[in-house]
Amino acid sequence: MKRMSRREFLRQVTNFLFGLAGLLGLGGLARYFSFQTDPGPPTEFDLGPVAAYPPGITALRPEVPALIRNDGSGIVAFSLACTHLGCTVEANEDGFTCPCHGSRYDRDGMVLQGPARESLRRLRVEILEDETLRLFTDGGRP
């Protein structure tokens, strides 16, 4: 093994320490920026009394955004966020259309035309004890 000069040894050790200091600083920065100031959006929404959703009705909830529909067989809810890049889709007679990139979905949220590849998210709705309806935006894919 070649003998290292004192100067060379010092240079390498000091460079290593500079690198270490930089890594420590970067680690601290990563932790610093990891903090999330804003609370996430709510994941539960009260939709009011169940009686307000008789068979045959379709209701829009723009604050979710979601569409609630009672086909007679029960109340279903669709997320209106396009599965392509998140624009809010528009509900129409035969389904949903995305205004941003033209994805189309049928009445059950299945993709008719791209660029979206996944069907609209079905959201979970529950009837609570007091006969009101609650919508959950987390989980809930059927």
Binding site: R7, R11, T14, G28, Y32, S34
Partner: protein
């Protein structure tokens, strides 16, 4: 304990309620009827909460709550519900009709509002309080109902911690206070960051080790290198090598270089702070408390910014005094002296202090801006230009923010670069001409860099440790009630002006005198005799003794006024 004397009726009342309603085992006939009427209420819910050692803030709050709040708000913070009223004897279950707490309540009692007693926990409870500080401020001012405002701030904070725990917020041994309460949300969980000490000390240690390595590096001073082609702009800012005589620490004190280093730290930490700071009157103090309380290393970043700024004021003062007391401003350096003085005034900056927008800056802001109004003729216009309205508010904060982030930074950058450029143009740091120097050697580029990096590493490690140990001040958000009186002291570097203001006319003392001091300092090289070129490069040359004496006099006066201001302000 005279502090609690006014609570005696409440305590007697509570004790009475407990005697009658809480001990059904007593064999008296009346309490037996109470027992049969409240078969479902478990009397153990009324017993004092167990003492925990060491108690957390919430544990202390539970004890205070049990003694003062539980009678009305319920053992679980449920409020005065029917279920909770069952804990009382039947004849006392209607507080409004029984006479104790109705509108005709006796003198040693109090009326309970007709709207009832609100729940403190559960869905929808306390939704109007976004954070722990607002809950604390409400408790402190309004609770208990008899008499309101009788709690100490410590008791009120412990109650806030207890109520947070009733709502499922677990804070462990974290203690809520005026400096962090508004960062803790009432209605959602936040993760409290770990200690900054291990990471911060590790970085400081590595910096010091690197400095040690650099210090062992053999120094290299060489003879005068052949001067290459005309040096470019960058070479003016940082020369490829300088005469050794210009790099003597005992002469320069390293103050100019240290000031540049501190400015760079300010730039970086300020940029980092911008990612979390929100410049609106409602959110500013909350966002600063969020940064220092919840963001990992956020407290360290803010402390570094704050302390760099404080030390920069000191270092710039030392730099100015060095130049004055060594006569270094003699021609051809007169203009650069003025440039440096301009940087100094620009960076004696008030806006960073104000951006906190907390109780601590409230009066300093009012006084500092009202001082503008005292300027003859243009005062009112000046005030509106700075404040953007009739009184400090959103417009003022936006202007201070814009100035601090952009105007100040850009202005300081231009002036500092110009100042450094002029140092080189004027022949470098003031030393005697080459033939009169004791030390003839030149420092090579690598040796100059080594010394600079070494100084930065040591200063950086020291600043880091200081910032880990000493927190920058932060107060509670400014509340409209004004119930919490703020600090009325000026920032320390304006204490001498504050002291002058006590002497008389605000314009003469607060505006004209400081301006005259600055004008006088700027006029030194133009009015008084200067040092000869041969006696440059050392302290107290005989050529500018008069200027030295007058500068010392000003420094003494400012120091005395500052000390007076600090002492009388306490």
């Amino acid at each position: 304990m005279p502090r609690y004397r006014h609570l005696i009726p409440v305590i007697i009342l509570a004790a009475g309620v407990m005697l009658f309603g809480f001990s059904p085992a007593d064999a008296s006939p009346s309490s037996q009827t109470a027992t049969t009427a409240t078969p479902t209420f478990d009397p153990s819910r009324l017993s004092q909460p167990p003492t925990v050692y060491p108690p957390s803030q919430a544990d202390n709050g539970a004890q205070v709550y049990w003694g003062m709040c539980m009678d009305c708000h319920g053992d679980r913070g449920q409020g005065l519900t029917g279920e909770w009223l069952d804990s009382y004897p039947p004849e006392e279950r209607d507080c409004w009709q029984s006479g104790c707490h109705g509108s005709d309540a006796p003198a040693n009692s109090f009326a309970i509002p007709e709207t009832g007693v609100p729940a403190l926990a559960g869905p929808g409870a306390l939704s109007r309080f976004p954070n722990a500080f607002e809950l604390y401020a409400f408790i402190r001012e309004n609770m208990p109902l008899f008499p309101p405002g009788s709690l100490t701030s410590e008791e009120a904070w412990s109650l806030a911690a207890h109520v947070l725990r009733l709502n499922g917020r677990q804070l462990g041994d974290f203690a809520l206070s005026e400096t962090n309460g508004s960062a803790i949300p009432m209605h959602r969980d936040v993760a409290l960051p770990g200690s900054e000490f291990p990471g911060g000390l590790a970085l400081a240690g590595v910096l010091l080790l690197a400095a040690f390595g650099l210090a062992l590096w053999p120094g290299q001073a060489a003879g005068p290198p052949a001067q290459a082609a005309r040096p470019g702009f960058v070479h003016h800012l940082h020369p490829p090598g300088i005469p050794a005589a210009q790099s003597r620490f005992r002469y320069t004190l390293g103050a100019g270089g240290l000031a540049v280093f501190l400015s760079l730290i300010l730039l970086v930490t300020g940029l980092l702070e911008m990612y979390f700071y929100v410049p609106t009157p409602e959110r500013a103090a909350v966002s600063v408390e969020t940064l220092t309380t919840l963001v990992p290393f956020g407290n360290l970043v803010r402390n570094l910014h704050y302390w760099s700024a404080q030390f920069l004021v000191i270092v710039m003062t030392v730099h100015l005094l060095r130049v004055a007391l060594t006569g270094a401003y003699a021609p051809p350096r007169r203009f650069n002296y003025l440039l440096g003085l301009l940087v100094f005034i620009l960076l004696l900056d008030f806006t960073g202090y104000v951006l906190r927008w907390d109780e601590g800056i409230r009066w300093a802001l009012v006084v500092g801006t009202n001082l503008l109004k005292t300027v003859p003729v243009i005062g009112e216009g000046l005030y509106r230009f700075v404040i953007g309205g009739a009184e400090p508010g959103l417009a003022a904060l936006t202007r201070f923010y814009a100035w601090h982030i952009f105007g100040l930074t850009l202005g300081a950058a231009v002036l500092v670069i110009w100042h450094a450029f002029r140092v080189r143009r004027d022949g470098g740091i003031a030393v005697p001409p080459p033939d009169q120097r004791l030390e003839r050697l030149r420092l090579t580029r690598s040796e100059l860099l080594r010394r600079e990096v070494l100084a930065m590493l040591i200063a950086g490690a020291a600043l880091l440790v200081f910032s880990l140990l000493v927190p920058a001040p932060i107060g509670p958000p400014i509340t409209n009630a004004g119930a919490i009186s703020g600090d009325s002291q000026a920032p320390w570097f304006f204490l001498w002006v504050q002291q002058l203001l006590k002497l008389g006319d605000p314009f003469l003392c607060g505006v004209l005198t400081p301006v005259l001091v600055v004008v006088f300092l700027g006029a030194l090289p133009y009015l008084l005799p200067n040092a000869k070129s041969g006696e440059l490069g050392r302290w107290f040359p005989s050529g500018n003794r008069a200027a030295q004496a007058l500068t010392a006099l000003i420094v003494l006066a400012v120091l005395v006024l500052t000390v007076l201001g600090a002492v009388t302000g306490q």
